[in-house]
Amino acid sequence: MSRVVITGLGVLSPVGLTPDDYWAALIAGKSGLAQATLVTAERVGTKMVGEVKGFDPTLHFARQQIGLLDRVSQFAVVVARQALAQARLSLQDGLAERTAAIIGTGSGGHTTVDDSFHRLYAEAASRLHPRTIPRAMISAAASQVSMFCGIKGPTYAVASACASGTHAIGQAFHLVRSGGVICAVCGGAEASITFGALKGWEAMRIMAPDTCRPFSADRQGMVIGEGAAALVLEGLDHARARGAEILAEVVGFGMSADAGDLTTPDPDGMTRAMMGALADAPLAPDTIDYVNAHGTGTTANDSAETAALHRTFGGRAKQIAISSTKSMIGHALGAAGALELAATVMALRDGIIPPTMNYVGPDPACDLDYVPNEARRQPIRAALSNSFAFGGLNAVIAVRQFTG
């Protein structure tokens, strides 16, 4: 069993296009939520989204390459490159074969699907471009990360809706810990702010008309986001031998399924995933100082998650700082868990807890410390990052400060 450390991060988010910019924005409480520009807003009922503004693919790819890459794959490749660059990891001398690329995404190349099928159905095109399938397939982002970064070990996509990124990182963690690979580039990517997807979300009737207010009394739902984050995971011995800077240690991964309702979250499933991560580490509950919550801003999620935190931590729950960064970046679905773990790692590193923004007052069903509206300076020994998906798919990662 190898200890597993994080040596690189990559981020594209609605509030910053690098890990540093993302982190600076989160601790300043900056919002990346605004009226949609990627779709024609007139025909969308819920116009508030979290778009990755200012992303220019021509800064990262040649023109011919862009043609092969849906926006989601562009995001994935860019964050993978950032993470490898920060880790100063060069995949030489057989390391490429012993490095994994595991990328979660909820819906893959959604822009390609939307645009292609519009051509077919609305414009009566007689044929689609041969790049349609290679761009749209849910594993495209993982394949492109492998091809652009030269990663030749285990490579695949993980799909578990809003938990995809967390499941992907957890799988990579277990693969490095077992010695199956030495390094992994893992995370999540999502770029599904399309007309078709937004109308689908609208039909779920869980979208906030104003903004995302996790755990707040008057919360009205979630806001769809997009983006990507990647982490370089590395066996501790390997990281030490090459003198890599260690950002944090991944210690536990817990998974569970509710086997219940499609959309109503179940505190029992959430509790089992959190307790699973603690047991996998193992970490005593009283060492957890911070939880980056799933915190979508829906009535059901935030009260169920609060109940699960009580069950998992007992009397300790009220002493744990809990925040939802979705209040600033929205819900990036399959990328959410990776973006949130990246935030959690920087919180550990700097001893700063990012706030839950847009919080106006307590809900009796949400009675914990949600770090409302202002970041807090506080040392963190260990933390959890929660992801609880539609379909009852739960995944939780435990990280702690690397202290040698």
């Binding site: 011919q64 044929r127 471009h129 041969p130 790049r131 290679p134």
Partner: protein, 85 residues
């Protein structure tokens, strides 16, 4: 039909990025330097341009056909389309 030949030659050379000029019409598509997916994309571009369907799938050995073969086949398909049924 010279425009057909010119279009196909241009589509091939643009995909090769100037690495392979001049193009020999007697060369097989694979020897010209096109990979299998580029041949699929080339087929799509020709179909869109001339509004024809080129009968080609993964079991068809299009790669070993020459540039001249391809031009001839496309010209035949265009002529067949123009002919009243």
């Amino acid at each position: 039909m010279a425009d057909v030949a010119n279009y196909i030659v241009e589509m091939i050379t643009s995909r090769l990025g100037g690495d392979h000029v001049p193009l020999q019409l007697s060369e097989a598509l694979v020897d010209v330097g096109l990979d299998s997916f580029q041949i699929v994309e080339l087929t799509f571009a020709i179909e869109e341009k001339f509004n024809i369907d080129i009968p080609f799938n993964a079991n068809t050995d299009l790669e070993s056909k020459t540039v001249a073969d391809l031009i001839g086949e496309v010209e035949r398909l265009i002529a067949a389309k123009a002919r009243p049924a």
